[in-house]
């Protein structure tokens, strides 16, 4: 029987990254992926003959360090990428357009006052982004751990905060938990601008502008990369990132198996306690390894693959209570030509449909009670403009993240329910791109439940579990599993459910590898 140093479950970007780091250090690594495609929630698939789309459609804060460490450019990933404008859509074509990165950020479509506030706002946030920068690629201290290395991480944050100066430090403490609504109302007049700027703090989570939680932290997390919060599509598409990660993995000796679904993590017990010894595939094949690293979400990892009989009771219940219901649906349209959005020369930006913050809030309210909004809010890109091979020549793909579509719909996600929502979303897009309906060759709407099915992610959740204060940092996914190691020796986590969280970033994969190599 073959013996591996490490088996990694799941070939999403984090699984690939973790595997590569370990293999580069000489480990024998086997990467097992349940589906037939790589990339997990970043996988690209054909949804209509000749038309492809990726679930995650843009990159905003992929770790530059990971790209460097794994030499991804050599493997075909064009980093740094060209940031795309973010556009707040207005039906009459009076859009708000944000361009540029960091202090070079520009804004069009708002009053001079708002434009000035925007520049200040960006500068303030940028200072906070830098404050938090070192923490995303670090193992968080264990709760109650008083060892120097752990205290140092805290001390470092403290020091960084001191360096901010008294006023900024106070502002940071105040803003960190501030609802997006208050933050925006304090700074801006334009309703559309407020909606657009709050979007990135909210998308992917069960939070709306008025939710008191850490939407600002989420926003700062997303601004952590070289793009300073702007989004981009690599010229080879999201596919090229996944492909580069795969190429880096195999080049460093990682063995990758697709269509290999892990059914169970093998755990052996004797008088020394429990220990991970390998995995059993769905077909019954057992593969041994010194350690197993799971990039599938924490609930699935512990409750399905490990089994509660191998866990402690309170720990199990904390995992059970993780909030994992996804609230983002995906719309994919195969278009006969380039869609024309009123007032936009070219739909090459990231276009947000949310006229004001109330539109977001009310859409959330519907979802909270198990419905979906008749005025859905969403983010749209036309990825085929940048990554031509997604559609046949002259044709295009539209990809939208539709917010506040509940995982659990009252009455269930029947075919009719899905079709009705799909129509509602298309009608909404058509308000801004009036001719689009005639261009649609095919449409597909994926609910969080569909995403759960296809991508084996509990709740179809963007981050594998809410990225909120109680499930963040040293609490992610929960204490006793927040340092990538788990209560079971030889079992580690490396997916979006671990610190720092989801999004195409690579933090969890990178940090887990470092922890394992410690």
């Amino acid at each position: 029987m073959q013996h591996y140093d490490t088996i990694i479950i799941g070939a999403g970007h984090n699984g690939l990254i973790c595997a590569t780091y370990l293999a580069k250090k000489g480990q024998r690594v086997l990467l097992l992926e349940a589906s037939e495609t790589l990339g997990g929630l970043a996988a690209t698939r054909e949804f209509h003959p000749g038309f492809k789309a990726a679930v995650a459609h843009t990159v905003s804060h992929f770790s530059a360090k990971v790209a460097r460490d794994l030499n991804l450019t050599a493997h075909g990933f064009d980093s740094p990428m060209v940031p795309m404008p973010t556009v707040g859509l207005n039906a009459a074509g009076e859009h708000v357009v944000l361009t540029g990165i960091g202090v070079d950020a520009e804004i069009i479509g708002v009053s001079a006052e708002d434009a000035a506030s925007y520049r200040q706002y960006r500068q303030l946030l940028q200072r906070f982004v830098e404050l938090l920068e070192p923490f995303w690629l670090k193992t968080m201290p264990r709760v109650g751990d008083t060892r120097w290395s752990s205290l140092l991480t805290f001390a470092q944050l403290g020091l960084k905060m001191r360096l901010l100066g008294k006023q900024d430090m106070g502002e940071f403490m105040r803003l960190a938990m501030l609802p997006a609504r208050d933050l925006m109302d304090e700074n801006f007049d334009s309703e559309l601008l407020k909606a657009v700027l709050s979007w990135d703090g909210l998308i992917g989570s069960k939070m709306a502008p008025r939710s008191p939680n850490a939407s600002v932290l989420t926003l700062l997390y997303r601004m952590s990369g070289e793009l300073g919060g702007a989004h981009a599509i690599p010229s080879g598409g999201i596919e090229s990132l996944v492909q580069a990660l795969y190429s880096a993995a195999t080049a460093s000796g990682v063995e990758v198996k697709i269509g290999a679904r892990v059914g169970r993590i093998l755990i052996q017990g004797n008088s020394d306690g429990l220990k991970t010894t390998g995995v059993e595939l769905a077909d019954g094949e057992q593969i041994n390894a010194a350690r197993v690293v799971s990039s599938t979400d924490p609930q699935r990892t512990f409750l399905e693959l490990v089994g509660v009989e191998n866990l402690e009771i309170e720990f199990t219940n904390r995992i059970r209570r993780l909030r994992c219901d996804g609230y983002v649906a995906k719309l994919h349209l195969a278009l006969d030509g380039l869609p024309n959005f009123t007032g936009l020369a070219k739909p090459d930006g990231r276009m947000i449909i949310a006229v004001d913050m109330d539109a977001i809030e009310f859409a959330f309210d519907d979802a909270k009670y198990g419905g979906y909004s008749q005025q859905p809010v969403m983010e749209i890109v036309v990825p085929s403009l940048r990554h031509e091979s997604l559609a046949p020549e002259g044709k295009h793909v539209l990809s939208a993240h539709v917010m506040y579509v509940p995982y659990k719909l009252k009455g269930g996600w029947t075919e009719d329910a899905r079709a009705a929502l799909c129509q509602r979303v298309i009608d909404t897009v058509a308000v801004y791109a009036p001719q689009i309906k005639a261009q649609i060759l095919h449409s597909e709407l994926l609910t969080p439940q569909d995403l759960e099915q296809t991508h084996q992610v509990t709740g179809g959740h963007w981050h594998h579990g809410e990225l909120s204060v109680d499930q963040m940092l040293m609490m992610r996914p929960t204490y006793e599993a927040a340092q990538y190691s788990t209560p079971i020796p030889g079992l580690y986590l490396c997916g979006a459910g671990s610190h720092p969280g989801g999004g195409l970033m690579g933090g969890p994969g990178h940090n887990a590898a470092r922890k394992i190599l410690e």
Partner: protein, 413 residues
């Protein structure tokens, strides 16, 4: 208008929901509770004593006596996952528990702090009864999460249970017609026909386990509520010549202390009910290390308990033999006679009539166990208050553990 003054409807009891429930034996127990000395246990009206605590204690030690344990919590845990679920919850190895056997055990939080102690009865390959002092359904449900082939039923109100203790208890059960009871070994279970089932030998509604909380020969009788009073009557008829008498909480407390058994609220706090994180206990602190089976690869609290075992707990519960005859109730303990250096406190104390010794259970800081232990005792004599400091001696064995407790067959009377 014609109102009938004689037909006044009595006002509904405004406190109906607040009143204590009555156990299945209440009609008989109430009759014998001459002193009306009731307290409460798990919402049930529960006798503190019936006539006189000391008298009842002597009945337990010299004859036989019944203790109404209906308020004790009883759970049926059954299904294909029952054994696995329980085995992960408790620190002993349940897989080694044979059919119709009972075992004493405890269960802990993830941090290795004791949630409760209790007994588990194996009633079938996939069927267990767990009994314990206070409601545990919430913890059981938490422990059950993730096990699908499992049912947990709270049978606390559905089973009438009577503890029957004392040296003549076996004899009385024999007189009652429980054939073969004398060959029942400690911690074994046996089922008997009872009442209407006399004709049908396969119907055995009476379950008897050789268990108890007095350290003496004794049994616990388990039956459906409809047969509770018949059981009481049959037992009291058979026991008439053996001085059968009900005993309450007070006598139980004396007997269990002599036997060295711990009591929640005295020796330990249930971990889920304390606020301060160090006000709960590990089994090692309570001298229950023997309930923790590290040969078992996994159970709740294992990692924390292993650490605790190796580091030794801060306090250890010990048995003390104390000079003189003044019970050391609530005494503080010192390493010196001058009481300058406090090292612990007494949790339960009494003058033991059978042992003829002044005994106590006490929590002592582990690192002082080797040295002198002094108790500062306060006592009252005819309203005059006195105090004295006396020497304490550690005892390893239970104060009271007569051979008759375990003898099979028990002595005949």
């Amino acid at each position: 208008m014609n109102t009938d003054n004689n037909a006044k409807v009595p006002a509904a009891d405004p406190f109906a929901d607040e009143r204590l429930k009555r156990t299945h034996f209440y009609p008989r127990a109430a009759q014998l509770n001459i002193r009306d000395a009731w307290s409460a246990w798990n919402g049930y009206k529960f006798a503190d004593y019936y006539y006189d605590a000391e008298y009842e204690y002597f009945c337990v030690r010299n004859g036989c006596a019944t203790y109404d344990i209906c308020p004790m919590q009883k759970y049926f845990i059954s299904g294909a996952d029952a054994e696995t679920m329980l085995n992960r919850m408790v620190s002993r190895d349940i897989t080694k528990l044979n059919l119709n056997r009972v075992t004493y055990l405890c269960w802990c939080t993830d941090a290795g702090r004791m949630v409760d102690d209790g007994t588990v009865f194996r009633l079938g390959a996939d069927k267990f009864m767990l009994t314990c002092g206070s409601p545990s359904l919430a913890w059981l449900r938490k422990s059950a999460f993730g096990f699908n082939k499992l049912s947990i039923i709270d049978m606390s109100d559905e089973i009438a249970a009577l503890s029957f203790q004392g040296p003549t208890s076996c004899e009385v059960l024999k007189q009652m017609g429980l054939e073969g009871i004398d060959s029942l070994k400690p911690f074994n279970i046996i089922h008997f026909p009872f009442g209407d089932s006399g004709g049908n030998r396969d119907d055995k509604p009476l379950m008897v386990s050789r268990t108890g909380f007095t350290g003496d020969l004794g049994y616990e009788l388990w039956i459906k509520p409809e047969l509770a009073l018949d059981l009481w009557d049959a037992l009291y008829a058979a026991g008439e010549n053996y001085g059968i008498q009900p005993f309450g909480e007070a006598a139980t407390n004396m007997a269990r202390l002599e036997a060295g058994f711990i009591m929640p609220g005295m020796e330990f706090n249930e971990a889920l009910k304390t606020i301060h994180f160090q006000h709960d206990h590990s089994p090692f602190e309570l001298g229950l290390g023997w309930l923790v089976d590290f040969k078992k690869p996994h159970f709740n609290g294992r990692k924390a308990l292993l650490k605790e075992r190796d580091a030794r707990p801060e306090y250890t519960l010990v048995k003390l033999d104390i000079e003189g005859n003044k019970p050391a109730e609530e005494s503080h303990l010192y390493s010196d006679k001058r009481c300058n250096h406090e090292i612990g406190y007494v949790t339960s104390a009494m003058w033991s009539p059978v042992v003829k010794a002044n005994i106590a259970l006490a929590m002592v800081k582990t690192k002082y166990l080797q040295g002198d232990i002094w108790a500062e005792i306060y006592y009252v004599k005819e309203l005059r208050h006195y105090s004295k400091t006396v020497r304490c001696t550690l005892q390893d064995k239970p104060f009271w553990a007569p051979a008759r407790t375990r003898a099979t067959p028990p002595l005949a009377y």
